[in-house]
Symmetry: C2
């Protein structure tokens, strides 16, 4: 490992920036060297809490700071493109929280900026790093599940019930898709990590019980290349749920994570359970899981990748792929659930980006 810590700066200093800062400071790879928010009080509070040596008074100032090797971006989704592209063009590496952007056009523009800049870029699709998802993937790859037919996932919580006009997630222009783009996109990445690309979707996405402009109930059927069927449910109007079931000819796996401890990612595995059920048996047995620290691990991987000592697992391609499934699902829902090919949605967005 590199002798000198990787010097990063936090940009957008809300709740999630603090979760990531705590994760980075659990390790010894990253040093938070600076930070920026337009809100001065937030900057000072963040500096104090995380002992950050300095804060920039403008984003320009931050990007002009030669000490800074990369930025950790947790600004609202609709600002990602501008904030990321400026960082890349200033010669900084960029880490951004999921989703990569609020529109596929922005996501593709970011992907293009990553390509032309040659900078390190990572997206926080962290959930696939949970010990349970890694174990499910191992069972799948090693054939312990046999032939898989149905995979079902749900990620829901009560956030939609708490949104008001002060929250950017309230607005369709900033967070189109509601729970589907904020929560569901995690499981889309998990599903594609497990099974490969989603080929097409049928979806029904509705606004039922929350005041926000955005949907709070989504059901998506995914058809994977090869024919396996995947289901994603995602709501914003219930107590928190995070589950995945995988049904195979030799065995089933059932994964259940207590979302309450999500933010403290070094503890998340302790509040999760993976159970197996084998062919010819009704009994379900708990599968022993290792422990992970998804936020720390992804940030350290990003930091080491800047130094050429690691490879980013989730970059622009994977993140565009996850967002594309969200966009395809929303388009399907607008067309009364008609099947939408994910590749066509991406091609259309590339066409309009190029135009």
């Amino acid at each position: 490992m590199t002798d000198e810590k990787v010097r990063l700066a936090s940009v957008g200093l809300g709740r999630w920036a603090r979760v990531l800062a705590r994760a980075a400071q659990r390790g010894s790879v990253i040093e938070l060297s600076s930070c920026f928010s337009r809100d001065e009080a937030k900057r000072e509070a963040f500096r104090d809490e995380f002992r950050v040596p300095r804060a920039a008074s403008s984003y320009e100032e931050l990007l002009a700071d030669d000490e800074i090797e990369g930025v950790l971006i947790t600004t609202p989704n609709d600002t990602h493109r501008n904030v990321i592209v400026r960082a890349l063009e200033a010669g900084k590496a960029a880490y951004v929280d999921k989703p990569i952007a609020h529109t596929l056009e922005d996501a593709i523009a970011i992907e293009e900026a990553v390509r032309t800049s040659g900078q390190t870029f990572a997206v926080g699709h962290s959930a696939r790093r949970l010990a349970g998802h890694r174990e499910i993937k191992r069972w799948y790859k090693e054939g312990l599940l046999g032939d898989v037919s149905l995979v079902e996932a749900n990620f829901s919580n009560e956030r939609g019930l708490e949104l008001d006009e002060n929250a950017w997630r309230f607005y369709a222009s900033k967070s189109p898709g509601g729970s589907l783009i904020q929560l569901g996109v995690h499981h889309i990445d998990n599903l594609q990590f497990l099974l490969g690309p989603v080929e097409s979707v049928n979806a029904n996405v509705k606004k039922l019980h929350t005041r926000a402009e955005v949907p709070d109930a989504a059901m998506v059927i995914c058809q994977f290349e090869g024919g396996v069927l995947g289901y994603l449910g995602s709501g914003w109007a219930s107590p928190g749920v995070y589950t995945m079931s995988v049904l195979g000819t030799k065995a089933n796996l059932f994964y259940d994570v207590d979302f309450t401890h999500w933010d403290e990612s070094h503890l998340a595995d302790k509040y999760s359970v993976l159970r197996s059920q084998f062919y010819g048996q009704s009994e379900r047995r708990t599968v022993e899981l290792g422990s992970s620290d998804m936020f720390r691990e992804q940030l350290e991987e990003f930091g080491l990748a800047i130094r050429g000592e690691a490879t980013v697992e989730v970059g622009a391609a994977e993140a565009v792929g996850a967002l594309a499934v969200v966009r395809a699902a929303l388009e399907s829902s607008e067309r009364r659930g008609a099947r939408v090919a994910v590749g066509e949605v991406v091609e259309a967005a590339r066409g309009s980006s190029a135009a």
Copy 2:
């Protein structure tokens, strides 16, 4: 209660007839007075096992037996219409296992024969009688769940992997829809029992891993009147799964039944668990359940209804309603998952029945 036992006859003496006979004999309402199968050895074995006083050597003979008040039909799905209609026309009450028929046209013809005959008729959508489903319904009705947005159900087992050409379920002409019509139809009834009629569906139904002609993997998104979304997964190529999750603004419920003990329905509740999760909490608590005996209860209700001392809970209307959702899902899947209105499928079938 009636002093004299209700005299019924079993028709079609396979595995399921024996499950029902054991259920009837756990109670004191029903007397199995006769039985019929085309296979004489099966008739004799059934008489012996259940101490049935006589066996008919033809269905005509059975129907001409004045002692018999009703028949318990467990013949293959594609024979239901003929066997039921002949019983009704002979002045017998009829109980048939789910699905009511293999096609909606047959189901509607049965419904019409019930109406014109005035006979008692019941369909074995028994699962809604499980203590957990009754408790979920109570929570829903009493508002303990708040506003429900997403309901997810799965009923899958390994049966498809075991089918060969000797089994009627192997053939698309006799069991169109595979696991969806054999297993999924249970949960469709459960969902409609809980939430009211399904308005429309989007579905993807595939044949993936089994030798049989019929599909072994189905995913269906149901939109209920009022907008609530329901999901049904049903496969025939994995160890057994029977689950239902209900997500509401005030609470979630998670129901899990160990299907291994399904046949012994007086034990089924003991091998099931219902858990609740309230708003603002991650903890899930086990909900205490009463005990039921779904097969015995439905048969006794049928018997007492013949005597005018009970009302049939699941008759032709409910069973046609459940099959209609299966048919709408299969049609949706053939049309690449396009939304299909259940009412239109029923109307079309009524039109072709009337023509």
